[in-house]
Amino acid sequence: MMQYLVILLDDTSVSYCHCDNPHKERRLIGLDDLRMSIRYAMMENLMVQMVYPNYALPQEYLDVIDTIDHHDIVPWGTGDRPVQEPDVVVMDGLSGESPVLRNVPYVLRITKAGLFKSVDAVAQLTQQVARLNVVITDVETITDAELPKYREVLDTLAEVVKAEYLTGCAPQLNLLTDRMMLDKPNHCNAGVENITLAPNGRFYLCPAFYYTDADDNVGSVAEGLDIRNPQLLRLDHAPLCRHCDVWHCRRCVWLNRKMTYEVNTPSHEQCVMAHTERETTRRLLANVREKATFMSEVEIKEIDYSDPFDVRKEW
C-alpha cells in the first residue's frame, strides 16, 4: 500500500540514495504542481517527504509546503540552510566537519574507495549522530576480490558499535545495527510504499529513475499514477529476495534493473555486499553477548553462502 510521497523540490535537490543526481541547473517544481501534489497526498493519505536543494526556497514555496505535515530531507552544505529543523541531513562524501545537529539522522553517500579509506571518520560520525545511513554509491562495481576489504571495514565499524553498546549507548548504523533490530524485511519498496514526484510534475518509482531517464515516468498528478506490472516491485514477486533474510537490504529496484534488466532481480554485487553486512552483524551480536545480556530474542543464523543465487536449487 502506498504510504509516502517523495517530492523533489528542485532539479538540484539532494540525492539521498545510490544514484547521483546529474542535474546541475536549478529548476524549481512549478508552484501549481507542488500544490496539486500536496492535495494528492492529502487525498491518498500519503506522508510527504520534501527533498531540498542547497539553496533557500522562495517564501511562497515555503508557505505552500507548510500546508501539509511533512518531513524535510536536506543537503549538508555551506549555503543557506533550506529549513531550520530538518528531519534528515544528507552528506555527499565526508566533509571533515563535525555535524551540527546531533539528534537528526544523517545519510552519508560515499564510494567504496572513500569508505575503505576513511573508515575511522565514518566510525567517528557513527558516534556523533542519532543515526547514520551509509549509502555506498558504487555498489555495482565491487568485485569478489574487494570483499575481504569490505569485511575488514565492517569489522572496524563493528568494534566501535560494540564499544558503544557496552557503555550503554545505542548507536544506529544501518550497515550493522538495522538487521538485528528487524523482525521482518525493511526494503526500500519504491513503487509499492513510496513514489516520487519530480520537478517536471511527473511521478517516478524513485528519484533514480528520474535522474536516469526523465521519460521513464509512471504518470503525473494530473493523469494519476500508472505503474505497469506493479506486482514485480513487490517482494512476493522477487524470486531470490523472497527467500532471503537480509532484511536490512534496500532491495533497490533501480539498481536491480540497471544490473540485471529486471526490477525484481538483484545483482551478485548487491547480494554479496548485503550478506557481508549480515554476517558481520551476526558476529557483532555474538561478541556483545559475550560481555552482556543483549537482545536475547534476536537470532541471526549462520549461513554458508553470500549470494542466494548460489543456493537457489535448495528452495
Binding site: 514485480l232 544490473m259 540485471t260 525484481n264 545483482s267 551478485h268 554485487e269 537457489r312
Partner: protein
C-alpha cells in the same frame, strides 16, 4: 541435461513464411569464420561455466544450410578443439539443424551429413498438404523493402521440400517434423497431419504460435479440427506407430504452485551467438526476432557472458510470471509459453509477464485431448490392448521451440 548452444549463421532464407516470427530477416548478417571461431574458443576455454554433461551445437537461420561451408568448418573445428582440450563434451555432443529442406539434397549438405552422421539431428519443416504448406511457406521476393527486410512472394515451396523427404527419412528414420499453426491454418490441421503420416513421418511436433494472432471463434474451429483428427488417428489405427504432439496424457491438469513451479522455457539455459558476436539467452531475444522490444544481449564473444543478466532467467519460475487466472486454471499443465514472446509482448521490458494469447486455444486443445484419450483407451480396453499400448506406444515430443 544438455547445453544448447546456437549459431545464428545467417539471417537470410530462401523463404519468407507468412507466420515467421523472425521479423528482421535480411541478407546482410552472415556469420564470418572469425566470429564463429572466437565464439568457440570462448565457450571451450570456459569449461567451468558450462558444466552440463553434453552439448547440442545448434545451427539456425534464416536457413542454416545456406551457410553449409561455414558450418562444415565450424563443426570440424569444434571436434578438433574438444579433442585437443580433452573437453568433457568430446564424444558427448550433437549437431542439430532445423531446415526448410530445400537444399537438403545438395552435394555440399549430403557430404556434411555423411561426415557427421553419428552426431547429427536434422529436422525438416513441412507444414502438411501442398495447399496448407504453400499458404504460408512461400519463397521470398528477389527484392527487399527499403530496410533490407525480405518480402513474401506467391510461390509456394512444397514441391521443393517434399522431394527431399524420402532421402531425409532414409537417413533419419526417426526424425520428426515441426508444424506451426496460426489462425488461417486451422481448417487444414487434420488433413495436414494425416498427409505427413502418409509421407512416412512418424513424429509430428505441432504447436500453435504464441503471438496474439487469434480471431474470435478460432478456439471452436481448432477444437473441431482436433476432434476430427482424433477420430482419424484412432479409427485409422495410426496411434500404434505415429505420434502427434497435440495429444498428450500429461496436459490439461491443474498445477501445484510449489511442486509444479518450474519455468517452461529454456531461455537462459541456452546460449546463442549472432553474426556480430553478440550473445543471447535464446535466439528469440535477437533483434531479428523481436517486433516491439530491443534485443536482450547478455554479452559478446570478446567480454563473455554478463552473469548478472542471466540471473533473471535462471530464477524465473512459473508462478512469478503468471497472472492469477493461470495459477487458478484447472487445465494448466501443458500450456506453454515462449520467454521471447513474453518479453516482446510485455507491458514493460520484462521477461516476467507471461503472455496468455493462447489461453483459449490451449483450453480447446485440452477438451479435444480428453476426448482422444477417453476414446482411445475405451477402444484399447475393448480390444484388451491397453496395457501393451501403454508400455510400447510412441511418445510425443513435448519440445516446442
Amino acid at each position: 541435461m544438455a547445453k544448447n548452444i546456437t549459431f545464428i549463421v545467417t539471417k537470410d532464407c530462401q523463404l519468407a513464411c507468412k507466420y515467421c516470427y523472425l521479423v528482421g530477416k535480411n541478407m546482410k548478417e552472415r556469420m564470418s569464420w572469425e566470429t564463429a571461431k572466437e565464439f568457440i574458443d570462448y565457450v571451450l576455454s570456459h569449461e567451468s561455466e558450462f558444466p552440463e554433461e553434453s552439448v547440442i551445437w545448434d545451427f539456425i537461420g534464416g536457413e542454416p544450410f545456406l551457410e553449409i561451408a561455414l558450418i562444415d568448418r565450424i563443426c570440424d573445428y569444434l571436434k578438433l578443439r574438444m579433442f585437443e582440450l580433452n573437453h568433457h563434451w568430446f564424444n558427448s555432443y550433437r549437431f542439430s539443424f532445423s531446415t526448410n529442406g530445400i537444399n537438403y539434397h545438395t552435394p555440399e549438405v549430403q557430404r556434411f551429413i555423411e561426415k557427421n552422421r553419428d552426431h547429427l539431428s536434422i529436422g525438416i519443416t513441412i507444414d502438411g498438404t501442398e495447399r496448407k504448406h504453400d499458404m504460408n511457406r512461400v519463397y521470398k521476393q528477389p527484392s527487399t523493402d527499403p530496410n533490407g527486410i525480405t518480402l513474401s512472394s506467391d510461390k509456394g515451396s512444397y514441391n521443393d521440400v517434399v522431394r527431399n523427404i524420402p532421402l531425409w527419412l532414409k537417413q533419419f528414420p526417426d526424425a520428426g517434423t515441426k508444424v506451426t499453426i496460426s489462425s488461417t491454418d486451422i481448417p487444414y490441421i487434420t488433413e495436414s497431419v494425416l498427409h505427413l503420416y502418409s509421407l512416412g513421418i512418424h513424429q509430428v511436433n505441432i504447436n500453435v504460435v504464441f503471438e496474439d494472432v487469434w480471431q474470435e471463434g478460432d478456439d471452436s474451429r481448432f477444437e473441431e479440427q482436433l476432434m476430427t483428427l482424433a477420430d482419424a488417428i484412432i479409427d485409422g489405427g495410426y496411434y500404434e506407430d505415429y505420434a502427434c504432439s497435440f495429444f498428450s496424457e500429461q496436459i490439461g491438469k491443474p498445477l501445484d504452485p510449489e511442486r509444479d513451479n518450474q519455468n517452461w522455457c529454456g531461455a537462459g539455459r541456452m546460449l546463442s551467438v549472432d553474426a556480430a558476436g553478440k550473445l543471447y539467452p535464446c535466439t528469440r531475444f535477437a533483434q531479428y526476432s523481436l517486433r516491439e522490444k530491443r534485443a536482450l544481449v547478455i554479452g559478446n564473444i570478446k567480454d563473455g557472458i554478463n552473469q548478472n543478466l542471466l540471473r533473471p532467467f535462471l530464477t524465473l519460475d512459473r508462478v512469478t510470471q503468471s497472472p492469477q487466472k493461470c495459477l487458478d486454471c484447472e487445465v494448466a499443465s501443458g500450456c506453454a509459453w515462449c520467454q521471447g514472446e513474453n518479453y516482446d509482448a510485455a507491458r514493460t521490458n520484462t521477461i516476467y509477464e507471461r503472455s496468455t494469447a493462447i489461453c483459449l486455444m490451449h483450453k480447446a486443445r485440452v477438451r479435444a485431448n480428453n476426448y482422444y484419450w477417453n476414446k482411445l483407451y475405451r477402444k484399447l480396453e475393448l480390444e484388451e490392448h491397453r496395457e501393451e499400448y501403454e508400455k510400447n506406444h510412441r511418445k510425443s515430443n513435448p519440445e516446442i521451440c
